[in-house]
Symmetry: C3
Subunit: 341 residues, 3 copies
């Protein structure tokens, strides 16, 4: 009775599991929520459990507010901080530090909550496992209520929906054919690929003309690229790649910046660091922005100022990163309303 | 005005402070809550403070949901994580790391909340103090609102009520005379005795035929044993002890497994570890379960798979540990309704 | 639409930014709340974000309850515990440990919450910056919703209002001209000055005759002193200073004890520690209290027993520190009602 189908699928792992119709409806719901015209259900006496295996500011707070806005309650659970640490592996003899298996933890939480939100970042050590979402799927297998992905190894659907709604709002619905540049940026750490993967798929599915500007060695996953190209082709657009950020910026309508690590990090973290350290010039500057078609600057946050983007850009009127962050709330209200309504 | 008597006692330290009538009513309330037929009061504008000196997953989340289900709000407070560390000793010159005395901390929280829930595990170093619940009684002495024990040195009444209601549900109320085996299990650490103490007293008070299967040296407290024997005798049953787990399992209706440390740990942690290390074969296996009367497998969780219980047992249909965990929520709704209603 | 003016100012940094009329109204509102006669608005679907850069027990819990009492929801955010660490400096190249700038963090939270509460203690290393509230003002600059100071470098307005209402209640509104002694106490650490600053200004503004008893070297800030003297003079009272605690206690009506560090700590922490270590006799004892006019003992808590105050004093009927702590809740309900109502 507590279990409800959503969007064809039971859980929200990634939007590509949903039909175009469902995706478009969700984008419109998020935009409607922003304008205060979403007809959302009241979720009184519904309880949402939010499990964060990794840090969060926006996702944690916007989910708490989103739940409350709908009349639901939420609990935030940070494993290892006030709870036990969890074991993920199957069939293991649990005589180490981890006192509880994820199977029981998620099984129990499914008994208390009407839906769960779970953040579990990429392992960074096993590419095939990350690509196949092995960890997140272990959670889905243990859950008996819907699970919302709050960023897994490869996908961040809450961010993707917020980004889509932000673009829809920014372009007043006329984003089709606009030039979207996914611009790789230097960062001191090899960050995971969930956000760039999700942003790429999102932009292609929104009918935008997509360019990925990134150094050699920072290719995104072949499967994700293929899916994005399908989305683009079906909308009369394309996805192109370049190592020339400056050229890519010319006539761009959106500069969506994001740092991510090379897949090389899965084989040798040291080699990846050496590769990355030579790429500090991959930074969004006012000079770069001046080449664009007065492009909007986007970033999912947190962002390192003057490393990923210069103060002059992020403090300019073209920066819409705070609107983008605000849309996290509206997107998640729409998602909760759909899953639990 | 905020202070209300409950169950004869003002606080819930342990169920043996309540009459049989009150205990039985609580079991029925928890079962009724599970079936959605408990007539619970609405606790609007009532606030419950949950203080966890030790980690928790089930208790923390199920108390938050239980409070919300009744319309109350809750705050979760984890001393030392975002708050000060507390001093427990009386009369001490507080010039060390602990910035606040439990007397003030609990006194202040009593001014903000209508009831408190407190988890404070056994010291593990002072047996007499743990048996006498010195720490928990210091909290009760400082509190001016009802306090619910969320697991103290010797007792875990929320678990006990959940277990009782689970058994009532499992046996459709016909648990009288059924064979309940409290089966000691190996664990890498010398765990506290609150759960086995509470499970023993609960099973005896439910009129079950109780056997404690545990190695030499892992006797439960003499006072707890004596009280359990009184409960059993008053119901025409008995409490027996054995060091032969396999024999105990024969015809068991319930295998309730739990690891706990020997009282020897209070004198010498090293000697206790040596004693315990030789007892790794105390594990619930499919072979053991096959000897039973198709017994239900119970465990309070968290449980270490393939250390305390084999995957083959906990993943079998006879395992009712998730139902048992779910009953934590129902039991606590019943307790809050009774204390604050 | 979410932004509302309060008390003339938009944010609550310190009460001296408000007029006497506004201050007096707030004191009466807090007293009315205590007596259950405050006509408070219902703040349904209003969300309050509470950001604690430093530990808290009273402020955190009483703000959660205050928000809920008004029908609002709250989230508690503890940077670095489950969230990212934040950068505060302007114009810095963020290639260190801090992944997010306070500008974005507060900017984003302003999009989710209708008001923010922020605790950010003194740096303890830059006196001019602390005195000018540089850190807190960086938060105010980034915020687009009202911000309530939950203790900054120099001010603690929630404590000040609670203290004022406690005194109003204790003296039945006849606190004018009563003798208020702000009594410095020894403490193992050089604590910040926000509470003594706020207590001094509060007592002077309540028309009390104020004496500060403190050792040489523990003078409060000259600007704060000047403002307090203005408040006192305007009410026909005075603010005096002495290094003789015993003399100050004679005929005192209130002993408000508080430890704080010397401004010397900003130049040399070692020298300040040496200075402070010789002052262990600055402790509130029963002998001292016997010299007073049956004075009320006050302390903002947490308090170190038998270091700052003897058990015999804090456990006596004259100690009103728990009432004072309770007034934190009532004061904050009044503040939230005023800011968001």
């Amino acid at each position: 009775m507590k279990e409800k189908a959503m969007l064809g699928a039971r859980h929200l792992l990634a939007w590509h599991e949903c039909s175009d119709t469902e995706w478009e409806r969700m984008v419109h719901d998020a935009v409607d929520e922003y304008h205060g015209r979403l007809r959302a259900p009241r979720l009184h006496r519904r309880h949402i459990g939010l499990v964060f295996f990794n840090p969060s500011l926006r996702t944690l707070t916007s989910m708490e507010v989103a739940a409350n806005r709908l009349g639901a309650s939420s609990s935030t659970i940070i494993p290892g901080r006030g709870t036990w640490d969890f074991e993920w592996r199957q069939g293991v003899v649990m005589d180490g530090d981890r006192a509880e298996h994820i199977h029981e933890a998620i099984g129990v939480l499914s008994r208390y909550y009407d839906a769960l939100g779970v953040r579990a970042f990429a392992s960074g050590t096993d590419y095939a496992s990350d690509r196949d979402e092995t960890r997140f799927k272990a959670i889905l297998a243990a859950a008996t209520v819907p699970v919302i992905n709050l960023e897994s190894a490869f996908y961040h659907p809450c961010q993707a929906l917020a980004d889509a709604a932000t673009l829809h709002e920014h372009f007043s619905g006329a984003q089709q054919g606009k030039r979207f540049v996914l611009a790789w940026a230097f960062h001191p750490k090899a960050l995971p690929m969930a956000v760039p993967n999700s942003a790429l798929l999102m932009a292609a599915r929104m009918g935008m003309q997509v360019t990925i500007a990134r150094p050699e060695g920072f290719e995104l996953d072949a499967g994700v690229m293929a899916r994005a190209r399908q989305y683009a082709a079906a909308r009369g657009q394309s996805v192109t790649e370049t190592t020339d950020l400056s050229a890519a910026a010319a006539d761009a309508d959106v500069i969506y910046t994001k740092a991510w690590g090379s897949a090389l990090a899965y084989e040798s973290r040291e080699q990846e660091t050496m590769l990355r350290q030579r790429l500090r010039q991959w930074r969004v500057t006012a000079v770069l922005m001046a080449r664009t078609n007065a492009a909007a600057f986007m970033h999912c946050l947190p962002v390192r100022r003057n490393v990923v983007v210069d103060d002059a850009v992020i403090d300019s009127p073209n920066a819409i990163h705070l609107l983008q962050a605000e849309f996290r709330l509206h997107a998640q209200v729409a998602i909760l309303a759909r899953i639990l309504g």
